[in-house]
Symmetry: C2
Subunit: 352 residues, 2 copies
DNA sequence: ATAATTTGTGCAATCGATTGTATTTTCATA
DNA sequence: TATGAAAATACAATCGATTGCACAAATTAT
């Protein structure tokens, strides 16, 4: 347990140890240790005396020593596909906020969407003897053997966003289905007749959810599902452009693109404009993730706020509660759809 | 020293120690330790035998134990203003690449441009007994007393981008002066007559450099310096908008805005468009940092690639070399100016 | 063949905090 | 006052790797 008593920085002096305190108070080091840890076997008088002196000296426990003894380093590993993406860096922010308060440090790794790098990161983290791992799967990860090994070994794990759905592990996700459903329904209500879907790999839970949200919205509004209006991409701008060209071949042609990612949506948007379609008058485009650029492009892109900070916080809480209970609980966070100009068909009606 | 021999992950087994190896080979643990560390006092035969068995068992040293003994944890602290900004996350990528290869772990903190948070982060890092600190100053940091304390205490430090200029510390910067000079000169050559400058706090080296690059370019091209064309902002979009309105009051009115940051530049751009100026025909705008959104806005924003990855790598190298030689050496990286539509006056001439 | 080196290993202490097991102190009760 | 239980504290081992020093073995010199 840590004492966060912020005395003035005294970095000139050497770090003091419990032995220094013990000597000064003419008691044993073990008593000091117990006093600092509020062990009930220590009398209130001694405890206060020790804590007061420790605070006065700005004592900070040597984490290496206590880690060695306790066998755990109060460090948790975090693996994200990419630290650059605002969604993930927000998540990290949320995790850090919760965990640093609980005395944990973070070790952050990037998988770059590669399974090999993901395994490598897990290696690194295990060698560092982290107390647990919080992660979001790479795009390539479809087989969970490497994760199961860890789970069997009793490693605490919490997943966020991209979770291994066939494993009973703790995780935090947003309601992707609801977000996609809401967007699709809204577009249909606005008068778009044939929304298409540019999705991601069906191997990944979030993309499956987004697709099924789209499909369910079509059904519940009585629209027909057109197979050629549905495609999978790699979620890049280039992939979006390609998807646009392909889907526009079909008959009937769609007049809206519900994309499972912002980059792909941007690609669709650019390709649409390039081919002299008006957005949103002729074609609506929506993305997913509310990346930093989405409000700044022309027209601003409708997207989904995935509540990264909130997700990070929840995941961290789950991790902290998980002392014993890795029971595969899933927290679902409500996303927020940010409707922007790229889907505002009525804007043309209003412009009189 | 670490052995990066990647045997198949064997996380089911307990971690083995040098004592296990010693017992198996019927030698002492100290010999094992020395053999693994390539200590010359150990015979080649023993060394090979030990290393082979260690590799076979997938032995990994317990970092906590060796940290405790050696008094250093093979961890370096990194403090950046904000992990979200692509420039900084690229730097982190570069640092990680170099340092993880050298067996170091990273502890990443954000200052959020606040001096208090910066101090807090330094606290945290010192308590974690990091081996050194790599950082970029917060905007608020103007007094370096807290850093000097650390330096006097012998803490290894390397700065990047925002460096404390009155301190003889190692650092990596880009040639901000050259970048600003180049942009300003180019704009004048393109026919813009009165470039203005939207700068950041003069307390920070990079903003001073950018401003002086702008000024020197004016001088060397024989343009006059107009005081009312120069302003300081907080480098936000809002700040950029405000700067635009203010500067446009002056006589003569400027026809170009060299901004020291992308957000401010975007603010200027938006405000210009809002006031029915054409960009780049009437007014040119340039930013700094090549943030992710810059190529995607309308018109795409001229900016400066600050070579974050490269800067991170160099900073890490400096850190590694610095075992003894903290002699205040500065590495200067050549930036790359990315001219985009927002400064292409001739585009109008070409449109025939 | 013996002394003087050189070379290779082992022993034991150490880093600082934690914790099971004494041991001492305190206090109440007989 | 002696005795037992309870409360408070001390002792010592431990976590795993490192390292100064001692010691043994092998090699060279005399």
């Amino acid at each position: 347990m840590y004492f966060h008593i912020f005395v003035e920085m005294n970095w000139e002096k050497k770090h003091i140890t419990i032995h220094d305190i013990a000597r000064e108070l003419k008691i044993s080091a073990s008593t000091v240790s117990r006093a600092l840890n509020n062990n009930p076997r220590i009398s209130a008088a001694t405890r206060d005396m020790v804590q007061k002196l420790a605070a006065a000296h700005g004592y900070q426990p040597n984490v290496m020593a206590s880690s060695l003894r306790k066998g755990r380093g109060n460090t948790v590993g975090v693996i994200v596909p990419n630290i650059n993406r605002s969604f993930f860096s927000n998540i990290i922010g949320g995790i850090e906020e919760k965990l640093s308060g609980a005395g944990f440090n973070l070790m952050i790794c990037q998988s770059n969407e590669s399974l090999d790098k993901e395994k490598e990161a897990l290696q690194t983290l295990m060698h560092a003897r982290v107390d647990g791992i919080m992660m979001s799967l790479s795009m390539e990860t479809q087989d969970y053997a490497h994760l199961e090994k860890l789970l069997n070994r009793g490693i605490r794990m919490v997943f966020f966003d991209r979770v291994p759905d066939t494993l009973a592990v703790d995780g935090v996700v947003i309601d992707d289905h609801a977000a996609a459903f809401r967007i699709t329904t809204a577009l249909i209500e606005k008068g778009y007749r044939h929304p298409a879907h540019v999705g991601g790999s069906g191997k990944i839970n979030v993309y499956r959810q987004r697709k099924s949200g789209y499909l369910d919205a079509l059904k519940s509004s009585g629209s027909q599902v057109i197979a050629s209006h549905i495609t999978e991409t790699d979620m890049t701008r280039q992939g979006g452009r390609k998807a646009f060209r392909e889907i526009m071949q079909s008959d009937p042609r769609p007049d809206a693109f519900i994309c499972a990612g912002d980059l792909a949506a941007h690609g669709v948007l650019l390709e649409a404009l390039k081919n002299h379609f008006r957005v949103p008058e002729d074609i609506a485009v929506s993305g997913f993730a509310n990346e930093e650029f989405t409000p700044h492009i022309t027209p601003p892109l409708t997207s989904v706020d995935q509540k990264g900070l909130e997700m990070g916080r929840q995941a961290a809480s789950l991790f902290l509660e998980q002392e014993a209970t890795n029971d595969g609980s899933r927290i679902v966070i409500e996303p927020e759809v940010l409707f922007r100009l790229s889907t505002q068909k009525e804007i043309t009606l209003r412009t009189e």
